[in-house]
């Protein structure tokens, strides 16, 4: 059987027992949905959704040279991060192409002291581990580096009720926690962060693998009457698309640079050197070749990845992700076009399997929480 070669998260049996439709995602057997993508999506927007994101790579760094080392590899300054801070950054190759988009955490464990975490995309984990190992071998800093993905689980609690769900389970007030901040847990090298990938308020919990089921069930059991649902990768995708968050392998890849992807905020070139910094400085000086845009359609036909974007008869770009937005009740998509077509209101068309459907450029994100 194919599934036997797939990696499983500590919650795999729970998913299978609760109707999770399991698919191969980056070598992991993951639930794409339990009941319906729309139901899980709506639960996340109106109450909360629980996501098993244990397939994402978790890399742990300790040692005195960690901050300087990570600073020399990613697009943002790591050395100036405070304890408890989380930063979105990009790992780029020498050409400025995106190897991955990552979260870097600076944490302090109550008894074991300081450490850094890097959370990477499941599909890029091996590549990033090799990349880090290459630079460790070359630079030989005082850094101990461990891939803790299989020893830990990661659960995302997302939605307006997220803080309420977390509150009884932590010894601090989660509502006082700042966005993109994290607190190290006493147990193991776990932590709770106020981060997520849905456009909602929310928390992500990293915990030892053997505690995952207990945490998951306690979050879900006590809250089923509030409309909280377990949600799969399908809803995760529609939610992040409404929030216009780029997804690696779609909006981002090694041929994409952070500036055309609209991620200029995550690139700091001032007085810094990292792989790709020289190439990105050139991109910054010259005019960008293309821009990431959002499109809304009036028809019900949904633009999908690789469909062509047209201005009149001229092909100008391609869709990178598209879906029917459960919140807006219309098809939405992201894609790349030359900058002159990127202003909101620009009328374009998308080739949906041979017919040109009218679309117009809208400001991103498509959805912002009220």
């Amino acid at each position: 059987m194919v599934t036997s070669s797939l990696a499983q998260t500590p919650l795999h049996d729970w998913h299978a027992a609760h109707g999770g439709r399991m698919v191969d995602f980056a070598g992991w057997s993951m639930p794409v949905q339990y009941s319906s993508i729309v139901a899980e999506h709506t639960a996340t927007r109106t109450a909360a959704g629980l996501f098993d994101v244990s397939h994402m790579g978790r890399l742990q760094f300790t040692g005195t040279g960690v901050a300087q080392f990570l600073d020399s590899l990613v697009t943002r300054r790591i050395t100036e991060m405070e304890i408890g801070q989380v930063r979105y950054a990009l790992v780029t190759n020498e050409q400025g192409g995106i190897l991955d988009d990552v979260l870097v955490y600076r944490l302090k464990h109550p008894s074991k002291g300081e450490y850094h975490l890097m959370v990477v995309n499941a599909s890029n984990r091996e590549k990033i581990v090799d990349w880090i190992q290459h630079w460790l071998d070359e630079r030989k800093p005082d850094v101990r580096f461990t891939d803790i993905t299989h020893d830990t689980a990661m659960i995302a609690v997302q939605g307006p009720l997220a803080a309420k769900l977390i509150e009884p389970r932590v010894p601090f007030d989660p509502t006082a926690m700042k966005y993109y901040h994290a607190i190290s847990a006493e147990q193991g090298y776990g932590c709770i962060s106020r981060t997520g990938y849905t456009g909602e308020d929310g928390f992500e919990v990293i915990a030892p693998a053997n505690e995952a089921l207990k945490i998951w069930e306690s979050l879900l059991d006590s809250s089923s009457q509030l409309g909280v649902m377990a949600a799969g990768l399908g809803a995760r995708d529609t939610l992040r698309l409404e929030a216009a968050m780029p997804l690696y392998g779609h909006e981002l890849n090694e041929q994409t640079n952070p500036l055309e992807a609209g991620l200029g905020f995550a690139v700091n070139l001032e007085g810094r050197r990292f792989p790709g910094s020289a190439a990105l400085a050139t991109v910054q000086r010259e005019k960008p070749r293309r821009a990431r845009i959002g499109l809304e359609l009036t028809s019900k036909r949904v633009p999908r990845e690789h469909y062509g974007i047209y201005a009149g008869d001229q092909p100008i770009g391609e869709i990178t992700s598209g879906t029917f937005s459960p919140t807006l009740q219309k098809p939405i998509a992201m894609g790349y076009v030359p900058p002159q077509f990127a202003q909101s209101g620009t009328e374009l068309t998308v080739d949906i399997r041979g017919s040109r459907e009218p679309a117009h450029v809208v400001k991103l994100p498509f959805y912002k929480r009220p």
Partner: protein
């Protein structure tokens, strides 16, 4: 229509073949409950016009869910003689009554050989069991 009495394509369309006027055979065509359940979150459907000629295995329309778009394949050779035009505006009918009000098209058979390739209920059930594992 009873699902036990229908014929099925491996692509999850069903067909009910009945005698029509002037000795012609008419196949009513729909999609199985298994397929509707697998698609979930339907948002759009495109059906053909009356008069279009189709071959078995040829796409005559499409059905779109939040997740993906799928072709609808004709299980038989023939000509579209009737289309359930109300259905695209009431896609929930596919969930509630896939073998009745959720029918898609009626096709006047030009040739009956394609019928031999269709599965009976038991064989189709077996296929669904295999696909859901």
């Amino acid at each position: 229509m009873k699902p036990q009495e229908l014929l099925y394509a491996k692509t999850h369309e069903w067909a009910a073949v009945q005698a029509g006027p002037q000795g012609a055979k008419i196949a009513t065509v729909g999609v199985s409950a298994f397929a509707v359940e697998a698609l979930t979150d339907l948002v759009y459907m495109q059906l053909p016009r009356v008069g279009r000629k189709v071959k078995a295995g040829e796409s005559f329309g499409e059905i779109e869910s939040v997740k993906a778009v799928s072709d609808l394949y004709s299980p038989v050779d023939g000509e579209i003689v009737e289309v359930n035009t109300a259905l695209p505006n009431k896609l929930e009918t596919l969930n509630s009554d896939p073998y009745g009000a959720g029918w898609l098209v009626k096709i006047k058979l030009s040739d009956e050989t394609a019928l031999k390739n269709l599965l009976d209920y038991a064989a189709y059930q077996k296929l669904c069991t295999e696909e859901s594992h």
